[in-house]
């Protein structure tokens, strides 16, 4: 009956259900965008509060260096999350892009796929957020 539904090859690792933790993965795919959100809020809030009131306390360079260091840490975290998600997707092992089957292993790999793409866009977002810090040197 199953085979008449579609003509896909049997899952290459159909018997390996060792990663059936999709509930956990569902939370995990939100990690990278959450880091991006924190990066955005922290950077913008820090610079606007500094420029509004506290620009006499420290040089702009100190704040920029601190925020750029934070950015480097966050980018490393996003890259790691993205790499883990890429492994979970396992596109090179299975050759499957879209994982259309509804079984636990497919859901697991699909969440890896989604997590990888979200990590990618979060990485780009954080880099774009940081460009003003690198290019602009003053509050003006």
């Amino acid at each position: 009956m199953r085979d008449s539904d579609h003509d896909r090859q049997p899952h290459p690792r159909g018997d390996a259900h060792e990663f059936a933790e999709e509930r956990e993965s569902l939370w995990r795919i939100t990690l990278a965008p959450t880091i991006w959100a924190f990066h955005f809020v922290i950077s913008y809030a820090a610079v606007s509060v500094y420029c509004f009131r506290y620009d006499h306390l420290a040089a702009m360079g100190t704040l920029r260096a601190a925020l750029i260091a934070m950015t480097a840490l966050m980018l490393a975290a996003i890259a790691w999350i993205g790499w883990r998600a890429f492994q979970r997707w396992d596109v090179r092992g299975t050759g499957e892009f879209s994982n259309p089957e509804g079984n636990a292993e497919d859901r697991h790999q699909f969440l890896g796929h989604a997590g990888f793409l979200l990590a990618l866009i979060s990485f780009i977002g954080v880099v774009y957020d940081t460009l003003p810090l690198i290019v602009l040197a003053s509050c003006r």
Binding site: L120, I124, V127, Y128, L131, P132, V135, L136, A137, S138, R140
Partner: protein
């Protein structure tokens, strides 16, 4: 040649004729309120930005349409999975990321020049409904008040402190630089470095009520010595015209209570509600760019301001005779 293709060719030729109209439409891009006419460094930066963006957009537009053409007419067969993957990775991720990143860096590098510190006069402009109160702070700390016209020395950066009385306005002289919003109760700052002397037109760029579109002003860029001479003259009290008609107009101006709202320095008229009229006769326009500066224009305005600027606070003086209005107009036109 079939009928069908001939019809298509005819349609194409007709649309080709339409292209001939484009130069006439583009003529609208010239003039004293055009972003593409640069009166200074700021406008030049923005004009360059515009051309870069336009060129990029045209190239992208042609490229995308080329791809559509290729995919639907030239090579409509399905692509291999491998080819499709690379198309998405290169065209869908890498290209837009790099292009937008490059544009972002380019835009950001322009900002410090546009927001450079001023080294010229400090001019406070307050948005009113629907005119501009303009105060120049001189080196000795004294303030010269005028309205609806801004004069700037060429070759230095003037600083604008922008404020508003009641609603949000936006200060914009397209040929001199970017715009800046004016908020009630908060002073925003911008600087402009005009270089080429001339008379440009400014316009309120944030909807501020029924006569928003009539809230304009002239911005004259002058040689620095000419600017200093003008500011000296502007600081001096009014020189009343000497004709008998203008004399009657001066008396009417005071007896009709005009001085409750308008100031004419050197006379008992000291109102601060409306525009300062001390040297109104020497301005380039009347009522914030609404009318010219002939005696007839002054008469039209005094008789019924609401007809020219709907919602204007100034009442109509239609109870006066034409001769009386003419006398007031002659007086105001003579205030140079």
């Amino acid at each position: 040649m079939t009928r069908n293709t001939r019809a298509r060719h005819v349609r194409f030729l007709r649309s080709g004729w339409l292209l001939l109209l484009v130069p006439f439409l583009l003529a609208g891009c010239d003039g004293r309120q055009s972003v593409l006419v640069d009166g200074g460094a700021d406008a030049r930066i923005l004009t360059d930005l515009f051309w870069v963006m336009l060129t990029g957009a045209v190239v992208l537009w042609i490229g995308m349409n080329g791809l559509f053409y290729w995919a639907t007419r030239r090579s409509p067969a399905p692509h291999s999975q491998r080819m499709a993957n690379w198309l998405v990775i290169l065209g869908g991720i890498l290209f837009p990321t790099l292009t937008l990143g490059a544009l972002l860096v380019y835009g950001l590098t322009l900002m410090p020049d546009l927001r450079a510190t001023g080294d010229g006069p400090v001019i406070r402009v307050t948005g009113e409904q629907w005119w501009w109160r303009v105060d120049y702070t001189r080196d000795d700390g004294s303030i010269v008040t005028t309205a609806n016209e801004i004069r700037l020395p060429a070759g230095v950066r003037s600083t604008f402190l922008l404020d508003s009385k009641k609603v949000i306005h936006s200060f914009w002289v397209p040929s001199l630089g970017g715009k800046m919003d004016m908020f009630p109760g908060r002073v925003t700052e911008m600087t402009l470095g005009p270089e080429r002397p001339g008379i440009y037109r400014g316009q309120c760029a944030e909807f501020c009520g029924e006569s928003h579109a009539w809230m304009a002003f002239e911005a004259e860029v002058m040689a620095p010595e000419a600017f200093e001479a003008w500011l000296d003259a502007e600081a001096a009290p009014a020189v009343a015209p000497t004709s008998a008609e203008a004399g009657r107009g001066a008396a009417l101006f005071l007896s009709q209570g005009c001085g409750a709202c308008h100031a004419v320095r050197g006379t008992p008229a000291t109102g601060r509600v409306g525009p300062d009229l001390t040297h109104v006769g020497s301005r380039h326009s009347l009522a914030a760019g609404r009318l010219g500066t002939s005696v007839e224009d002054f008469a039209k305005w005094v008789a019924n301001p609401g007809a020219w600027k709907p919602g204007a606070e100034m009442p109509a003086y239609d109870h006066l005779t034409d001769a009386q209005i003419g006398a007031i107009a002659a007086y105001l036109e003579g205030l140079e």
